[in-house]
């Protein structure tokens, strides 16, 4: 199987402010968010990063999508290094996270065209893609409504459509269903499967066991910035439910205590 993303020894630490030091009850000036993280994701598969809040999932995805630079280590995305060739990496990925917002003032139609232009998509291809994506997510009716006036779910769908303007082969989702109602969440999870069927590779982060069980081919469990288990979802589950297995792994690591 062809590797589409290879992360090797990714490490990232953040400086803590005095206030944060107090909150974390520590005297350390830095907090290691991701510690020597390595994993591989394969072409045409959905890879899930599973972990509790603060485990380092988002930081990992931000590094992989070149928004932030790792302190050490590297990752190859479709053969391009995130540290040496961030530009090429950005061209090949679509990134969706709740932190990336769309300008309230514009309409989905305008924004789709604008981002298409940034990626250098010709108008004919753009219109074809826009037609398909807007139809798929039911955006057509809202195409000329300012983002400010859209519902949270519709905003998320528009963000999703816009993250795909350049038809990327690698799609990275940070908590794709966070804050969405069940209907919108289902649209998104269904679409993840569709994308995989189209041959796309997907990397997502989540803390929702059912989402991983439903869509992920492989899963990496991150706790405290380290990859503690990484295998196919079936192998990780080992006959149990993912939830049970996660708590097994967690207590093995933390010595049974629940801090």
């Amino acid at each position: 199987m062809e590797e589409i993303l290879v992360a090797k020894g990714l490490k990232k630490a953040f400086t803590l402010s005095r206030k944060q030091q107090k909150l974390e009850k520590t005297n350390c000036k830095t907090k290691v968010a991701v510690d020597d993280l390595s994993f591989s994701a394969y072409k045409g598969e959905i890879f899930g990063l599973l972990g509790p809040n603060g485990a380092g999932k988002t930081t990992t995805l931000r590094m992989v999508t070149t928004l932030i630079r790792p302190d050490s280590g590297d990752a190859m995305v479709d053969g391009f290094s995130i540290t040496a060739n961030p530009q090429q990496v950005r061209e090949r990925i679509g990134f969706l996270t709740s932190e990336l917002k769309l300008e309230d003032f514009f309409t989905p139609n305008y924004l789709f065209d604008f981002f298409s232009e940034l990626y250098g998509i010709d108008p004919a291809t753009r219109d074809e893609r826009k037609g398909k994506l807007f139809a798929r997510f039911g955006i057509e009716k809202f195409a000329e409504v300012k983002v400010a006036n859209l519902s949270t779910g519709m905003k998320q769908k528009v963000s999703l459509a816009i993250s795909l303007v350049h038809d990327p082969d690698i799609i990275i989702f940070d908590e794709p269903t966070n804050g969405l109602d069940v209907l919108t969440a289902k649209t998104v999870t269904d679409y993840l499967l569709e994308l995989r069927d189209m041959g796309k590779s997907i990397i997502l982060s989540t803390h929702i066991f059912s989402l991983v069980e439903k869509v992920c081919d492989k899963v990496g469990v991150i706790i405290d910035g380290r990859m503690v288990a990484c295998d196919t979802t079936e192998n990780i589950k080992n006959g149990k439910s993912l939830e049970d297995r996660f708590f097994d792994i967690y207590s093995e690591l933390k010595g049974g205590s629940d801090e």
């Binding site: 931000r62 070149t66 928004l67 932030i68 530009q87 917002k101 769309l102 309230d104 514009f106 940034l118």
Partner: protein
Amino acid sequence: MNKNNILTIIKKEFARFFGDKRMVFTTVIMPGLLIYIIYSFVVGGIRDTFESDKDYRAKVYVQNMPQSVQPMFEALEMDITNANNLDIEGIKTLIEKKDVELLVVFPAEFDNAVANYNVLDTAQVSPNILIYSNVANMESDNAETAVRNILTSYEETICNKFNINAYTEETANEEFNLATDEDFMGQILSSMLPFLLIIFLYSGCMAVAPESIAGEKERGTIATLLVTPMNRSHLAFGKIISLSFIALISGLSSFLGVILSLPKFMGSTIEGMPTNIYTTSDYLLILGIILSTVLILISAISIISAYAKTVKEASTLVLPLMLVIMIVGIPSTIGGGNVQTAISWYFIPIYNSIQAMTGVFSFNYSLINVGITIVINIIYAGAFSYILAKMFNSEEIMFSK
């Protein structure tokens, strides 16, 4: 994919700005309109209230009117009443009540007393005229000034030894102030316009840059741009060019407001003065200086805005720069059109813009200095754009919370 995205960013910024009618109104139309209204009507109106009615005839009571000054009083177009047999205290009360404007009391035998008075004799006391007026009554105050003036000039004529630039038949057509009207007007304009222009341009920049850069950062929309493969310098250039244009029209709107209200605001000072005193090349130089200045202001404010976490923080951080600009601009308002001639001064941004503009407005510039100003400003703006692009690439700056 090294597509040039500068134009794409400019188009988006324009669509954002010009698509928002409220924003266009508050940043472009309102400043100019407000300045015009305030300067023309409010300031003009205030001045009108201080000006008396030209047709009004002041009621003046005079006691012991001397023959020598009587013709002068009669020429004043006032209602003069002989108060020789009237009650002085009663007239004072009328003045207090604003029913009468003025009471002038000459010493008896004033003309003789003046003729006999010897300036060199310290034992003698000079004749004293008493003028009662009410300063709270504008008509009374004006009448007092008018009477005082004729008496002072009468005093000058009786001990006249020489004149300066007196009006005689010989000098009737003589022009003593050899400054041309153009020079005079240039001096007036050069003491006002550069300072106002730079302040208005800065306000224009302040109105758009923090919102567009710190605002996008605060709302998380700039991160969406940063995941695209777009070159960061294209984003920086696109932002700076489009924001400069918007700031320019906002600044020029305010400026237009001043220019249009100038005749009303300046009133008689510039009455009859030539208004079209600059040539096309003067205007082109001014435009060049303005453009390069806006670029440098916008790029500087953009850097501050990119550093700030919120629009509010950005707006606070750009205020000290406003003070610096005002302080740098003040000398031009009192320099009477005089400017630095040494080239080295024109390497200091902002200061060079004000100096160069003052020079052009007062017909007192060197083309080299103006050229250096424009080139230096563009170089600085370029350097600032480079820094801005670097900042867009810095996770500490763009993603710090």
